[in-house]
Every structure is written in structure tokens, then in C-alpha cells.
């Protein structure tokens, strides 16, 4: 296998290179002005370790895979194209009103509950750029009001006159009957053929999202149009750089659906959060290789803490309505929960409870924690970790950031210790404990709300800040084992290197499997079977377009089902690709019942209220070769030699403990280190708390286990 996988994050560009059985990790700073520079530098660092040139590698690799959130700078800087929205007459205010609740989407609880202070974000499509077309299709797809050619032309001209640079066409019930959206596309193309105005992109909502709900689908299409240009410019720059260095194959982009595709088959919306999703995908693979059936993936960075779940029953968790920046959209994104907690989270004394509180406000990386000496004056998690002795002020982030202990102490004293009436150390301990508890609560809720018992899971910890807090938050939720994965500092890039080429197509429908009012069970299978066939065909077309041979294409049918009129839609993987007999219905009902009980409790099912399918989803994919990640079975009784030692304070102990500090190279495969201990790597520090033992594995992996 010869494969390059890259994950471009906010600070670092991570590279994972698999080359003839060797696995190399490398990093470079992300170059926001031109992502290709950082990409090539990271790749160059990896090639350097193999003593090969970038050209040697790129001209011989099977694939370059790329995980990054494309185009979101356009959202942040609001410098995307001027989008014109064509919608059904009467629905012009749907986007400006954002379902009312939109003011709080993408914000924290404090902002969401502050109604007097609530502000909607600056619109991507201002009101004058929205026009209503006289047309109407009802819930069944019946045309109530047909499209009038002249009406469309008049409205579209109005948009162009106002400087429209991209069209979005989003009509009511277009997912049931897309005829009017297609008709409007035809009219726009006839009014403005590509040789006029250079060809304005036209995005039809039903092609971006297959679900009912006009606002979120329209926003999906708007974001797609808004990010489109930046994505293509960014990608073409990278493609040119790759071509110049000998790479001739198509690049594969990682999607947030846990799959990947070529650029010509990628919507910009599908790239959002693709890096973290790649990390979760790697977790799933690692769980299989390491034979750990239930794993909670945790990725703690400077400002955020991502939580994902891999379960033994293989249930796939989606977020069908993720919020991108401040916008609610409709797309089947692999579910990850992101908490605003990290090394930069700010600690304070909460007068209300007379206790120490941490976050959700964050000092981020600029100005950052007080100890960074970059102007930050407020105490943060990192400051507490420094005061407690976990961090080396001269060897933080591989020595790239010099920490100032005195500033950390002063910040904690002034803002936490004094008002709380605590000593400096007790205040820092309270911060550490609260950080761990906050993360533990978030993990607990994520796992428990899906019906699982967190105590039956192991925690996988990666990202820069995770290994310092992993023992802490694991203890809080009663988990006794923490895994640190191989190549943990480039784990998402590794995940990108392990994905399948995959496309998801879905369609809303109203299909009663059991009608409780009339006590009938579905007997006409035509709609189900025809819909599956249609979605399979669309998936096949996508993959064939990318030159995938037909015989390698696999499909999986998933159903979103619900009882009665409940909000809860539970995803069920159908074991049956087509319905042919009554037993098939019973099989689906049973599987739904099992999944529902898993989530809400046995006995909570309500089939008496009727059961229906709301969405049919077909996942079409082609499997790619996988990396080999081996769990070590070695046991080395030798004790590593500590580089130094220093006193560390732990929340559960009154007195400090002298704690040995190891360089990670000193702790080799099979060696065990009892807590308390610190193991420093160039990118992070593993804190083995008292009562825990770390055993080192292969490729930088490790396991920390709470002593019995």
C-alpha cells in the first residue's frame, strides 16, 4: 500500500504516509493563505523520513486523501458570492426567520437563553435577494399551481439586476416532486446560458438534500452555493501543486458521512468537520483491530472537546440536521458532539453556588492562557495544569511555547482562589476536578442518551489536551480503561487513510408499515422497492463517474423509522434490500423495536401508535484496503528510566506526590509505568494519575488502566 492522507486543522496540517508497509507521521503548520503550502511541507517532512523526494512518493502512491473543512472561511469572513434565492411565493421569509430558533443555533446555552440579547447572524442571503415564484406542489407531489415561464424570467432578472452571482432554487415539496425546480433551472439556463455572465452556478435544493423540511434544505443549498467557489479555488490550487510534483490520479476528499469521493462528486457541505469524522472512523477501525467493542472517542484540543461513539452493535449515529457555523442544514453527517472545553477554558468563582466553575468561555489560543504571556490575564485549564505540576514550563508543545508559572499563579489567585477563599493549590485542584467533571458529564450524556451504559466502554483519548485529563474524566464516569491510539497526534489523518469511497442518497416519504387507526400492515411493497432502486441507481452513478467498476459497488439500506407522530426517528439498517413478503415487514418492525428499546428503555416502544418509515437511505460504497494496526501483547518487566521528577498535586490527595517524568522514547513496547507519572512527547503529555498504570504499546499507542 502506498497512500498519503492529510488532515488540515486550524493550527496543524497532519500527514500520515503509508508506504510499502511503513507508516510515517508528520506535521506542519497550516498555511491558511494557501493550504497547499502546509500540505506539501507536511508531506515533505514525511517523505524525508523515508529518504525519498516528494516527487518520488507522489508519482507512485495509489491515492492522496484529504480531510479538511473547505470554504468555511467564506462563512466566517462573509466573502462568498452574492447568492440569489428562488423560492415558492409566500415562503420568502422562511430563510430570514430561521425557524425562529435560529438565533441560537451554533451558540452556547448562555446565549441561547438570553432572549433580550439574542441576535440573528448577518444573513447569507439578504431579503432583496429572495424572490417568490408562483408555483405550488403539495405533500403528495401533486402540482397545485404550475410554473409560469414569464413569472420566473421576471424574478430571475430581478436577482441578476441586483448582482446575483449564484442561484439557489428551493421550492416547497421539491423532494417529493422535483419537476418545478428542474423547470426553473431550465428557464434560468435559457435566460442566462453559460456564455452569458460566465455561467452562474445553479443549485437545486433536492439535489443537495433529500429530506423534507424546506428551511433546512434551503439552507443546505445556500451554503453549498456560498462555499462552492472557495472550495474549488482551494482544491484547484492543491491539485496543481500535486500535479507539479508528479501525482496523476484524482484526489479523494473525505466526507463527513464517513466516506470519501472525488472532487467532482463532492458538495462543499460534505467536507465540513470531515477531519474529526475521520478520527471517529479511525476509532471504529481501531476498535475492531484491538477487539474493544465499545469505545468512546475523545479529542481534546485547545478550544474544543469532540466526543464520538463506536458500539458493539454497529449502530451508526447520524446528525441529520447539523448546525454549520450558525446555520441549520439537512445532511446525514456522522454524529459527533463538540463541547466548548479545552486547555483555554476560563475558570472563575461562581458567586451563585459559592464554587469554582470552568467555561464555557475560552481564551482560545489568542490571547490564550495567562501562562502563555500573550496578553491573557484570566486563569484557564492550562494554567491550572501548570500550577499542579503536570506541565513543564520549558518543554510545552515540544518547547515551542514557553510557559510562565508566575502569571498562571497570579491569575488563579486573583480570579479563583481569593474570591473562593481557597489556597492557590486548592483552587487549581478545584479547576482540574471541574474540568474533568464537565467533560465526564458531557460524555455521560452522549452515551446515556443513546441508551448505553458508559461503564461498559473504554475511552480513546487523542488530541493535544486529552491525555492529561483522560484518567480524570474516565474516573468521573466510572470507566477503568483509557486507550491512547497509535499515531495519536495524527489520528484523524490516519482515519482518512482508512476510509471507503462512499455516497449516501436518501429520500423522505410517508410509508406506514403498521397503520394503528385501521389496523393494517403494509402490503403493497412498490413504493419501498422503487425508492430503494432509485437511490441505488444514484449511488451507482456517483461511483461509476469516479471510474469504480460496477462489480465492486456494495450497498446498504438504512431506514429512519418512527412510532406514531413522534419526533424520534431511529435509524435501522435493513437486512432486506427489497420487500417481498409479510415476514419482511415483521423483521423491520422487530429491528426497529430493538433499536428503540436500546435507546429509550425496554417497554418504551409504542407500536400501538403505528409505525412508519420517514426516510429511506441507501449507502453505496466500494471498499478500500485497510491499514494494519496491531495491538501489542508484549510485556516487558523492565522499568523505564525517568528523565526527572517534580511534585504534582492531585485533587483526590491532600499532599503533593513526587512524580517521575519520562521521555516517551524511554518507555518502549510492553513497559509499564505506575501512577503518578508523566510521559512527555513532543506534542502532548500523558498524565498517569495515582491509582492508574500505563502500559506502552506499538506505534506510540498506550493503555492506562485503573488499578483494581
Amino acid at each position: 500500500m502506498r497512500r498519503v492522507s492529510v488532515d488540515i486543522g486550524g493550527t496543524f496540517t497532519d500527514c500520515f504516509l503509508a508506504y510499502d508497509g511503513k507508516y510515517i507521521e508528520a506535521k506542519a503548520l497550516t498555511t491558511h493563505h494557501n493550504l497547499a503550502s502546509g500540505f506539501m511541507e507536511a508531506l515533505g517532512n514525511a517523505c524525508g523520513e523515508l529518504a525519498l523526494s516528494v516527487r518520488d512518493v507522489l508519482s507512485t502512491v495509489d491515492a492522496v486523501r484529504y480531510a479538511t473543512t473547505l470554504g468555511t472561511n467564506a462563512l466566517i469572513e462573509r466573502n462568498g458570492p452574492r447568492v440569489g434565492l428562488v423560492t415558492t411565493a409566500g415562503f420568502e421569509s422562511s430563510v430570514p426567520l430561521m425557524r425562529a430558533r435560529g438565533y441560537g443555533d451554533g451558540l452556547g446555552h448562555a446565549e441561547q437563553t438570553d432572549l433580550p440579547g439574542a441576535d440573528r447572524p448577518k444573513p447569507l442571503v439578504p431579503i432583496p435577494m429572495i424572490v417568490g415564484i408562483r408555483e405550488r406542489i403539495d405533500y403528495k407531489g401533486t402540482v397545485c399551481l404550475s410554473v409560469d415561464d414569464e413569472d420566473v424570467r421576471r424574478q430571475v432578472r430581478k436577482l441578476v439586476d441586483q448582482g446575483c452571482q449564484a442561484f439557489v432554487v428551493a421550492l416547497v415539496n421539491a423532494v417529493v416532486n422535483p419537476a418545478h425546480e428542474k423547470e426553473i433551472e431550465r428557464i434560468i439556463l435559457s435566460e442566462y446560458p453559460t456564455h452569458v455572465l460566465g455561467g452562474l452556478p445553479i443549485v437545486l435544493s433536492h439535489r443537495v438534500a433529500g429530506r423534507k423540511a424546506e428551511y433546512s434544505r434551503t439552507m443546505s443549498a445556500v451554503l453549498d452555493a456560498y462555499l462552492h467557489d472557495q472550495m474549488y479555488h482551494g482544491m484547484s490550487t492543491l491539485e496543481v501543486a500535486l500535479r507539479q510534483n508528479g501525482y496523476a490520479r484524482p484526489m479523494l476528499l473525505v466526507h463527513n458521512t464517513s466516506g470519501m469521493a472525488q472532487l467532482n462528486s463532492t458538495h462543499s457541505l460534505q467536507t465540513i468537520h470531515s477531519g474529526p469524522v475521520a478520527g471517529l472512523e479511525a476509532t471504529g477501525y481501531l476498535a475492531g483491530q484491538f477487539k474493544e467493542p465499545n469505545v468512546i472517542a475523545t479529542d481534546m484540543g485547545g478550544t474544543s472537546f469532540d466526543i464520538g461513539l463506536v458500539t458493539a452493535d454497529g449502530v451508526k449515529f447520524y446528525d441529520f440536521n447539523p448546525v454549520i457555523d450558525r446555520w441549520l442544514v439537512s445532511t446525514p453527517m456522522t454524529y459527533l458532539h463538540t463541547l466548548g472545553a479545552g486547555g483555554g477554558s476560563i475558570a472563575r468563582y461562581d458567586r451563585l453556588w459559592g464554587a469554582v466553575e470552568v467555561g464555557p468561555e475560552s481564551a482560545g489560543s489568542d490571547p490564550g492562557p495567562a501562562c502563555y504571556s500573550r496578553g491573557g490575564k484570566l486563569p484557564t485549564t492550562t494554567d491550572a495544569n501548570l500550577v499542579l505540576g503536570y506541565l513543564d514550563e520549558n518543554n510545552y508543545a515540544g518547547g515551542t511555547i514557553k510557559l510562565n508559572r508566575r502569571r498562571a499563579e497570579r491569575a488563579i489567585e486573583e480570579y479563583v482562589a481569593k474570591p473562593a477563599g481557597l489556597s492557590l493549590i486548592d483552587a487549581a485542584k478545584a479547576i482540574k476536578r471541574k474540568v474533568d467533571a464537565n467533560m465526564a458529564s458531557a460524555i455521560f450524556k452522549e452515551v446515556a442518551v443513546k441508551g448505553y451504559n458508559p461503564k461498559n466502554f473504554v475511552i480513546l483519548s487523542y488530541g493535544g489536551g486529552g491525555p492529561i485529563h483522560a484518567c480524570g474524566y474516565a474516573s468521573e464516569i466510572g470507566v477503568a480503561k483509557v486507550l491512547i491510539p497509535p499515531f495519536s497526534s495524527v489520528f484523524s489523518a490516519l482515519g482518512a487513510g482508512n476510509m471507503n469511497q462512499l455516497h449516501i442518497h436518501e429520500k423522505s416519504l410517508y410509508l406506514m408499515l403498521y397503520d394503528a387507526t385501521f389496523r393494517t400492515v403494509l402490503s403493497d411493497y412498490t413504493v419501498f422497492n422503487d425508492t430503494v432502486a432509485e437511490l441505488e441507481e444514484r449511488g451507482r452513478e456517483d461511483l461509476i463517474r469516479q471510474n469504480v467498476p460496477l462489480d465492486r459497488i456494495r450497498t446498504r439500506v438504512e431506514l429512519d423509522m418512527r412510532y406514531g407522530n413522534q419526533l424520534a426517528q431511529i435509524s435501522v439498517t435493513s437486512p432486506i434490500p427489497r420487500l417481498t413478503q409479510p415476514q419482511d415487514i415483521i423483521t423491520l418492525l422487530d429491528r426497529f423495536s430493538t433499536n428503540y428499546a436500546q435507546r429509550f428503555g425496554e417497554g418504551s416502544q409504542a407500536p400501538e401508535a403505528g409505525v412508519r418509515i420517514n426516510v429511506i437511505r441507501v449507502v453505496s460504497y466500494v471498499e478500500h484496503d485497510k491499514l494494519t494496526l496491531t495491538r501489542s501483547t508484549a510485556s516487558d518487566p523492565a522499568r523505564p528510566v525517568a528523565r526527572t521528577e517534580r511534585p504534582c498535586h492531585f485533587p483526590q490527595l491532600v499532599e503533593p506526590m513526587m512524580t517521575p517524568v519520562y521521555d516517551h522514547t524511554a518507555v518502549t513496547d510492553g513497559m509499564s509505568v505506575p501512577g503518578p507519572a508523566l510521559i512527555e512527547t513532543p506534542r502532548t503529555t500523558y498524565l498517569v494519575e495515582p491509582g492508574w498504570t500505563l502500559t506502552m504499546g506499538l506505534m506510540g499507542s498506550a493503555v492506562m488502566v485503573k488499578n483494581a
Binding site: G104, P116, N438, S441, V449, A516
Partner: protein, 744 residues
């Protein structure tokens, strides 16, 4: 037998011979927390580290949020789907100590009453009792909660035989078998027209519902499916929370849980008092009027006086309207308190935790049998029609205190829009099911103008943040209610000011594919605004319910597309469909069956404005004009701005001159205050107005005419005439007059 002994015998006899256990005034009229028990004192002494308490609190809060998610996901009621619910933990004495961070805040202060009823009457009753696994339910607002459409379910949590707390949830379920579908019947003329009347009672044991009771409840409502799903969702959420409480007990000990629940209440009260004490002492008065009962137009006075003294706030509503014995607009005192708590939890201190202690430093004064403190004999299904304006009366008084307050947690605002402008529906849906409920559009109330910027358009109801107005495609998939215009910002629907309130939206609805379908509406404010601007800002405009009957708009779509219009303004002004009957009404519509394609149109109001319109930036006026949010008439005659109709370019010099002229005009119209009072004040309400409430003297209450009064401390409830009888009488009089003319 001595006197005391005789008394004791009589008391015993009376205690043993109670006809039935109706709402208990001792429970219902108090919003204070139960005194700290010996058990709680012991627990707080044993578990007293604030950081430790904080960790337990965090755990229980997570549990509340988890169970909230469950109810929202498993619930089938539209209300549940947009968050009209709350889940929480009550102390062993029945006080709500912690509640989910999402949902309707109003529940925070009024959910303790049914729990306290259960404790007082059922705990030691040998035929009922409280045991592990018991399930209790309740919906009758006279025993607590807001109105009968809300159903609560609670279960006790025991540890080694000791009652530790209760867990549960309350959801706006909608349909409840009332005389009209959807659960909020404005046609109710007595409490017995309001559907299910569940006093707090046991509906299951060993965590299972009794099938006979479930069947009875399903049999009592139009949507048995909804009743089943609602009950199951609440039970499993309560059970999930119970298991989380057990986890906390296992990890931290039972003392920790008991101590944390009580400490949370005590700390919250202390913090609220601390914040109140930073307000200046003083009195602020406001008067507001509800302009109808939903059955007829009249003026219903809300008299409000806020007095801040030390760390307490006294809200005095004495002198407000009497109760209406055969109208549904009466408020149970507890519901009023719940709604007022909303002002403080959402609009003044949104950072405070959600529990009933927030309201502990606040005292209420009301007249018994007034519309804001009604008797159990009066229906209350539409209590919002009096407690929403009461909320607003407090909301527009509070800024006067906040200006000099030492602590402000958010922006100072004018009056938020406060009416539930939406359609309630009932009938047979396209799948042949009988359904009845309310649309989520009521959640798009216009935001109030703020001290430094405009209000947001149709953003949130006054009772819940992050509420959702829903998506039309999902609505019409389930019910045959087609919105031709679902939510379209209404031109000029605005509280003008230096900073304007957020606009409201218009809705044009019809039905399709149903054999029987009816609409209802339940808002006031078609003639007199229900909310106000402050410091010179305007109140929003008033809008009627508009109808076009005798038309099938779907046929017009096929045959006469040129006649179609997509705003209420155009349809009502141009009356484009020949043969259609165009009418306007107040927004209290009792169930009315519609024919396919007939149009029902309503308009959501706006938030109040803030500050003088003449101080509004002319460029902001121009932007709104270009966005078609205001007309040129408003530009010219409200804001006094001169701009180019095509480009929106402001003529600064002409605008300055025009505004100066307007200021000069104001000066000319001005009068000394005493002179104004002398010319304005009258001894009695105007003769032509059906007026309810005090006029000059809060101790004297008018009952609809200047000739019909009663003392405030002995209110005689009002009985309204059937509007149909009134109409018949009018028509008969006209007929008689016509006949007389004919004879003449």
C-alpha cells in the same frame, strides 16, 4: 363537654366527612418553598463543600437535560416537539429544585402544587399511598400547572425505604377531550367544558400504567394515540432520571443528593435577593388592557403596581378585572406567578438557574375572584388572555428599575409581543385519523426593541427560548393544513421607535384532502395592543383575523392564476376572487369548519419600540423600506424621513427639516401636565365601553358598565351573554325596525 373539646370533635367530624378533595387553597396560593426539614439540615451539615455540591448538581442537571431530550424525542404532541415541556427533580417535600435547561420556563414556578397535594393527601391515605414504582399524573390547572392541555407525570424516588425526591416531566400535550379540539377551548363556559380533569392521581404501579386507567384516559380524548405516546414518553424519561439520581446516591451518598437539592434552592433564593437589592427602592405603575374574552370585544383591565423594597419585590394587581364565570380567559393565581417568573428568568436574569426559588423574594397581591385570581368555578383554558398581558405589565415596568440597578444580566428591552397568534385545528386528516392540536407558529413572537438596537423579527415566544416555528413540509405531511403563506414578514407590522420592535409575520392557511376540518384562533389584541413600547417607542399595530369564504383557492390556482395574491393586505384590499366573502374579526375564533380552499389569515404582532421615532437613523429607515418591511407612508408619516423611492437614498437636509417641523408641531400640541389631566380624566369609564376592572379607585370594580360595580374585596363574578343570543337580538331589532319602516 367543654368548648375546646366540642370544637375538636366538630373538626374531627368535618375532617372525616369531606365531600371531595378539591384544589387546596393552602397549597395553591403559596409559592414559597417548604421549610428546611430536619433531614435536609442534617444532610447539608454532612455534605457542605460547595465544590462537591456543584459536582452533584452538575450530575443531576445532566440527568434533567437527558430526560428532557427523551420527552422531546418520544413525545408525539406538537408541543413536545418544539420544547413546550420541562423535566425536573422535586425535593421530598415537593419543591422543584432542578429543571431541564431547555423548555418552557413558566413551569419552573408552578409545578410544585400537584406534588404537594400528593404528599398532603395521598401519602398517608391507605387507599392510595406513595410507594416505589408508583406513577402519578395530573392536568387540572386548578391543582397546579398552566392549563389543562399540560399533563404532568411524576414518580417518587426511594432509597432504602426513605422518600428522597420525585422525578418527572410536564408537557403541553394538546388534545384533551375538551368541547373544542386541541386542548385550549375558548368556547368553554365552565371548567367541565375543558376536557380531562385529572386531579393528581395514581395511574400505575411498579413502573407500569394500569391498563384500565390508560383506556379511560384514551377514551376521554380525540387522539388516543397521542395520549398513549405522551404518557409513555414522560414515564420513561422520569424513570431515566430516577436511575440517574440512584447513580448519584451510589457515587456520593444519599446525604449528598438531599443536601444538593435543598442547597440549590437556598442558593438561588439568596442570589435573587442579592440582585433585587441592587435595584433602587420605589414604585412603578402600569395599566394594560385585554381587548376581549375571545368571544366578544370588551376592555379587561390589568392594573399593576411594582414596589421594590430592600431585597423584595411586591407586585400588586389589585383593581384588575373581575373573573368571568362563563369565559375561559381566567387565570389561576399559580399560573400567574409562573408567567411572572418567566419575566425574571428569561428577560431580566436569564443566567439564573431554573427552579422555583427565583420567585421566592417576590410577593403578589391580587383580589380574590378577579380574572387574575379566579375561583375553581371559573374556566381557565385560555388563561393566557389575561396572564400574558399581566406579564407584559410587569415587563414594561421593570426597565424603570433596571436603569439604576447595580446588576444587569442582559439588555433592557421594551415589551415583547405576547400573543399566541396561530391556528388550532381539529378534524379528520388525510389518513382518516381524528386529530386536534395547535400549530407551532405561535412561537414566532416579535422581539422587543432594545436600549441600543432593534428587536429581532418573529424570534421567540415569551415563555421559551429556542422554540421552533416548524417547517411547512412536515406539517402538511401529517395534517391537511396547507399554508399558502406560512410565515411572511408583514409590512408595517411594527412597534416603531428609535429602535423598532421585531416584525411579526402573516399566515394564510387553507385545507385540502379532508372530509371534515376546522380552524380556531385564540388571540386578543385586534383592537387594543397587548404589548407596549417604552420611553416613547410605539406599541405594535393591531390585526384582525381575516377570512375569504365561498372560494376554493386551489381551483383559482388551476384556472385563474392571475387572481392569486400572497399577502393579507392585497387579498383584503383588492378582494380578487369574485364571489368570495371577505370578512374581518377579532382573533378569538371558536371551532369553525372550513371548505377546501377557503382562506383563513392571521398576523403575528411585533415587539414594542424603544425611544422616539424622530431619533431613528434615517439610513435604518431606508434599509427597511428597501426590504419592503415598511411602506412609504411609514417612512413619511411615522419616521418623517425623506428618501428616494427607487434607490432608497436619504435626503438628509429635507429629513432634518421635516423632523424639526414635527418637533415644533409637538411643542404646539403640548400642555402642562395638570391641564392635560384635567381635560383627560373622567369619573367613570366611558358609557359605550364594556369595561371590567377599577377606574380611579382600585377598591371599586366595574363589571361591564359604569352602573354595575362591586367592591374589590367582594367581587361578584361576571356572566357574559352568549354572543349568538346577542347577535340574534341585534338582528331581531333590525328586523323589527325594518318591519316598522315597511309599515310606515
Amino acid at each position: 363537654m367543654g368548648g375546646d373539646q366540642e370544637k375538636s370533635v366538630i373538626e374531627k367530624f368535618l375532617e372525616d366527612n369531606v365531600l371531595f378533595l378539591g384544589p387546596d387553597p393552602e397549597i395553591m396560593e403559596s409559592h414559597q418553598m417548604a421549610p428546611v426539614s430536619a433531614r435536609e439540615t442534617e444532610a447539608m451539615a454532612a455534605f457542605n463543600n460547595p465544590d462537591q455540591v456543584n459536582l452533584v448538581r452538575h450530575k443531576l442537571q445532566t440527568a434533567c437535560n437527558e430526560s428532557f431530550d427523551m420527552v422531546e424525542q418520544m413525545g408525539a404532541a406538537p408541543g413536545a416537539k418544539w420544547g413546550d415541556l420541562i423535566s425536573g427533580v422535586w425535593t421530598a417535600q415537593g419543591d422543584l429544585a432542578m429543571a431541564s435547561m431547555g423548555g418552557v420556563l413558566i413551569f419552573s414556578v408552578l409545578t410544585q402544587h400537584p406534588v404537594k397535594f400528593i404528599l398532603k393527601y395521598w401519602k398517608d391515605d391507605p387507599t392510595v399511598g406513595i410507594r416505589p414504582g408508583d406513577i402519578f399524573m395530573h392536568n387540572d390547572a386548578r391543582y397546579g400547572n398552566i392549563h389543562n392541555t399540560d399533563q404532568s407525570l411524576i414518580i417518587p424516588v426511594f432509597h432504602e425505604g426513605e422518600l428522597i425526591c420525585f422525578t418527572g416531566a410536564i408537557v403541553h400535550e394538546g388534545e384533551n377531550g375538551a368541547c373544542e379540539p386541541g386542548g385550549m377551548p375558548s368556547a368553554a363556559e365552565s371548567p367541565f367544558d375543558e376536557g380531562l380533569k385529572m386531579s393528581p392521581f395514581k395511574v400505575g404501579e411498579n413502573y407500569e400504567f394500569r391498563r384500565d386507567i390508560m383506556t379511560f384516559l384514551q377514551n376521554s380524548v380525540r387522539e388516543p394515540k397521542l395520549q398513549l405516546e405522551g404518557m409513555k414518553s414522560k414515564l420513561f424519561a422520569a424513570m431515566r432520571m430516577e436511575s440517574r439520581v440512584r447513580d448519584a446516591i451510589e457515587e456520593y451518598g444519599v446525604q449528598a443528593v438531599i443536601a444538593t437539592l435543598r442547597k440549590t434552592l437556598l442558593d438561588t433564593e439568596q442570589e435573587t435577593r442579592r440582585r433585587l437589592s441592587t435595584w433602587p427602592d420605589g414604585i412603578v405603575r402600569t395599566n394594560l388592557f385585554a381587548d376581549g374574552t375571545l368571544r366578544e370585544n370588551c376592555l379587561i383591565k390589568i392594573r399593576c403596581e411594582l414596589e421594590k423594597r430592600g431585597d423584595e419585590l411586591i407586585i400588586d394587581f389589585r383593581g384588575s378585572s373581575p373573573e368571568f364565570l362563563n369565559r375561559a380567559n381566567n387565570t389561576v393565581l399559580a399560573s400567574l406567578k409562573g408567567m411572572l417568573a418567566q419575566e425574571f428568568l428569561s428577560f431580566v436574569w436569564p443566567d439564573l438557574p431554573r427552579n422555583q426559588a427565583v420567585f421566592a423574594p417576590i410577593k403578589l397581591r391580587t383580589d380574590k375572584r378577579s380574572a387574575l385570581h379566579c375561583s375553581p368555578d371559573a374556566p381557565n383554558a385560555q388563561s393566557m388572555m389575561t396572564f400574558f398581558p399581566s406579564f407584559t405589565a410587569v415587563q414594561i415596568a421593570v426597565p424603570k428599575f433596571l436603569y439604576s440597578a447595580g446588576h444587569r444580566a442582559t439588555d433592557v428591552i421594551a415589551g415583547w409581543y405576547n400573543m399566541i397568534v396561530t391556528f388550532i385545528y381539529g378534524g379528520v386528516n388525510q389518513y382518516g385519523e381524528l386529530v386536534g392540536n395547535v400549530c407551532a407558529d405561535l412561537n414566532g413572537m416579535g422581539g422587543a426593541a432594545r436600549w441600543n438596537r432593534d428587536g429581532e423579527h418573529s424570534i421567540a415566544p415569551i415563555f421559551a427560548p429556542m422554540a421552533d416555528i416548524g417547517e411547512q413540509e412536515l406539517i402538511e405531511e401529517e395534517v391537511p393544513l396547507i399554508k399558502i403563506v406560512p410565515h411572511r414578514l408583514m409590512r408595517d407590522a411594527n412597534g416603531f421607535g428609535k429602535f423598532r420592535g421585531g416584525h411579526g409575520y402573516q399566515q394564510i392557511a387553507t385545507m385540502k384532502d379532508s372530509s371534515m376540518w376546522g380552524f380556531m384562533c385564540c388571540s386578543i389584541g385586534s383592537k387594543f395592543p397587548t404589548t407596549m413600547g417604552i420611553f416613547g417607542g410605539y406599541a405594535p399595530g393591531c390585526y384582525p383575523l381575516c377570512k375569504v369564504r365561498g372560494v376554493n383557492v386551489f381551483e383559482e390556482m388551476e384556472d385563474n392564476r392571475d387572481l392569486l395574491r400572497f399577502t393579507v393586505e392585497e387579498i383584503m384590499n383588492e378582494q380578487p376572487f369574485p364571489g368570495g366573502r371577505y370578512t374581518t374579526h377579532h382573533m378569538g375564533l371558536q371551532l369553525e369548519f372550513a371548505q377546501p380552499g377557503e382562506l383563513y389569515m392571521i398576523t403575528q404582532g411585533s415587539g414594542g419600540g424603544y425611544g422616539d421615532v424622530l431619533e431613528r437613523e434615517p439610513e435604518a429607515v431606508a434599509r427597511e423600506y428597501l426590504d419592503e418591511l415598511i411602506s412609504m407612508n411609514t417612512v413619511n408619516n411615522i419616521y418623517h424621513v425623506v428618501l428616494d423611492a427607487e434607490s432608497g437614498a436619504v435626503d438628509q437636509a429635507a429629513t432634518a427639516a421635516r423632523r424639526q417641523a414635527e418637533r415644533d408641531k409637538r411643542k404646539r400640541l403640548g400642555k402642562p401636565y395638570k391641564e392635560f389631566v384635567k381635560s383627560w380624566e373622567t369619573e367613570h369609564p366611558p358609557e359605550h365601553l364594556p369595561y371590567y376592572g377599577s377606574w380611579k379607585d382600585k377598591a371599586l370594580i366595574y363589571r361591564g358598565s359604569r352602573h354595575d360595580t362591586c367592591p374589590a374585596d367582594a367581587i361578584v363574578p361576571v356572566m357574559m351573554r352568549d354572543p349568538k343570543d346577542v347577535r340574534i337580538e341585534q338582528l331581531e331589532a333590525e328586523l323589527t325596525a325594518l318591519r316598522a319602516q315597511g309599515k310606515g
